[in-house]
Amino acid sequence: MQERLIERAKELLSDGTVVRVLGWKQGDLGYNPEPAYFNSPEELKDFVYDGFCGANLSKYMIAAGKMEGNTLVFLKPCDTYSFNQLIKEHRVNREKTYIIGVGCKGTLDIDKIKNAGIKGIESISQDGDTLKIQTIYGEKEFPFNDALLERCTVCKGKTHQVYDELIGAEEGEEAGPAGNRFEMVEKLEAMTPEERFAFWQNELSKCIRCNACRNVCPACSCLKCVFDSNKFDSAQKANVDTFEEQMFHVIRAFHVAGRCTDCGECSRVCPQGIPLHLLNRKFIKDINEFYGPYQAGEDTDSRAPLTDYTFEDVEPGIVTERGGKH
């Protein structure tokens, strides 16, 4: 498929449809391609599309949309939810974007492979359901499905929500492993408040406030984040006390509630492996229960549950009504 993507990108650059391509560039290890712009057909020799192209390119389109000329961007099915949501929020320029929806077999988490004790990785190739990993310490194997990013184990589906053309995405293709994405949220809900607090304390105390989760998040597109402003006490670069430690992520989750498409980038990039997506999923689950099923990024013009009002809306007392289960 990579070759087909490169060929098509070359055509679109050559015929002037676009002046640049936003995709992924071959890294210098077997698993570290980086998001990259390609400005000429020659540069596309470094283009790569494989399981390690997990990076969601939608947010880069905010910047690309402000550049001169049109941009071709490659979006995986779940990335298109983010792009759609950014259209809804008037953050990207659809007219200046040419979207090729690319098929996706699931994206991989190198940390899962490394955590299994596989080190000294030289190259990784796929052989059916197995990853063949060449290392300095000999050849290893790892099941493809065990290496999937968490988000891909609960895949939203293989359908692109917005595109100009599709490559490698077959109509009606089955979604990946369809786990219950609310399983862990349900477990957390079933805990006592003390247990739940201990769970989050344990996780969030690892936070180093690098802001990677915020900066990668397509829903976090404020020009100036309140946490970056030195005019407020909220501008902290360290977890000065436990309040700060707990509040940063909770405030962020509130801010993206109803707009988060559950793309999972926050958890993918966290250097400390904090399952940040669980905060967002709790909101998504509650929104689904209170207002009916809703998927942010499925469309570009509907009114979203949290920005709309109907007489049927739940009353604030709903938390108490359902027995204090929150």
Binding site: G27, D28, L29, N32, P33, E34, P35, A36, Y37, A55, Y60, I110, K114, N115, K119, G120, I121, E122, T135, I136, Y137, N202, E203, S205, K206, I208, R209, C210, N211, A212, R214, N215, V216, D228, N230, D233, A235, Q236, K237, A238, N239, V240, D241, R268, V269, P271, Q272, G273, I274
Partner: protein, 340 residues
């Protein structure tokens, strides 16, 4: 040289912790970071690289400098107490030890940073040779020998044994205090281990990066390179690389309103952040390209120019494995150094 069976390490830790604080890699919520040893913690010496380096033990991410309190209309100022008790950091790697030397040049030279100096004075570092170096490692490029960590005590894991060798006076003193647990060892097993480590290091993909172009004379040429404009583009402007780095030393000083007073504290800052160079007159770095360039120019050009050629990268590779956009100093060295 001494040796102790691996399964007796808990005794060694308890012995060291009996007289002083002991910091070592601890597994918590699926990640390994340095923390204070107690009997309850899960010590993890199998993970080659902790997420954050052991830098925190000497230069914590956040520390209070002094507190101001107002009581009965009277203002009192309480300076934070400097470390005055000995402590041990166990499990650092050769690269992280070199990272401390990079910090020493900054914090121990005039004007001396008294907080850091007090910790350096009282801390004893036990470093472990890297049994199985990883593909992200490139310490060799900076003249560091992962088989011979230059700490107060160097240690090696070979089979079921930990070998232990004091290299400094502080190391001798620590050894003396726990000597009852050790038996005398001969060096042959360790010599064999060292050879194996060095042989692996030779084969690592980044072990032979070319740094010859990063010289003070080329400062302006490198600064003005058009390649920065291309390289910075995927950068998310987060602080991951900075905060996992054993040599990044920049900090910010801020006030925390406690309600009845103020805690003045300092915390790590990142040159990747938009307010990093914010001053009264404004900010002289206005674009992410400039911020990105600063980080690498500092590591590879400015710092060595001011410190007899010592680079302020130690090749630990944490940024290589942690950057959310898969950017890293290796890619920059290759690109600017003419290799890619």
């Amino acid at each position: 040289m001494y040796q102790i069976k691996k399964d007796r390490l808990p005794e060694l830790f308890a012995a060291m912790a009996g007289t002083q604080d002991l910091f070592l890699p601890i597994r918590k919520a699926d990640q390994t970071n340095y923390g204070l040893w107690t009997e309850e913690v899960q010590v993890d010496l199998d993970t080659l690289k902790t997420v954050k380096s052991g830098k925190d033990c000497f230069f914590p991410q956040s520390e209070t400098l002094y507190s101001c309190k107002k009581e009965d209309g009277k203002l009192s100022i309480d300076p934070a107490k400097l470390t005055d008790e000995p402590f041990v950091v166990f499990g650092m790697r050769a690269c992280d030890v070199q990272g401390l030397k990079v910090l020493d040049n900054v914090f121990l030279n005039d004007p001396v940073d008294s907080f850091y100096a007090a910790r350096r004075e009282h801390g004893t570092v036990v470093a472990i040779a890297c049994h199985e170096p990883e593909e992200t490692c490139f310490c060799k490029v900076f003249g560091i020998d992962a088989a011979n960590p230059a700490a107060d005590v160097a240690a090696w894991f070979v089979g079921e044994e930990l070998y232990w060798k004091a290299l400094t006076e502080k190391g001798e003193a620590l050894t003396e205090s726990v000597k009852a647990l050790f038996t005398e060892a001969d060096e042959s097993a360790v010599e064999e281990e060292k050879k194996q480590i060095q042989a692996i290091i030779e084969k690592l993909p980044f072990s032979h990066l070319d740094l010859s172009r990063f010289t003070p004379e080329r400062t302006m040429e490198l600064f003005d390179s058009p390649l920065w404009e291309e390289m910075f583009k995927p950068c998310l402007a987060c602080g991951t690389c900075t905060f996992v780095c054993p040599t990044c030393q920049c900090y910010d000083i801020k006030d925390f309103d406690t309600g009845s007073g103020v805690q003045r504290y300092r915390c790590w800052d990142s040159c990747m952040y938009s307010d990093f160079t914010m001053m009264a007159h404004g900010n002289m770095r206005t674009s992410q390209m400039q911020r990105f360039r600063q980080r690498f120019m500092h590591k590879l050009v400015y710092y060595p120019a001011n410190n007899d050629g010592m680079f302020s990268c130690v090749g630990c590779g944490r940024c290589v494995s942690k950057c959310p956009a898969s950017l890293n100093i290796v890619k920059v060295i290759k690109k600017l150094g003419g290799e890619a």
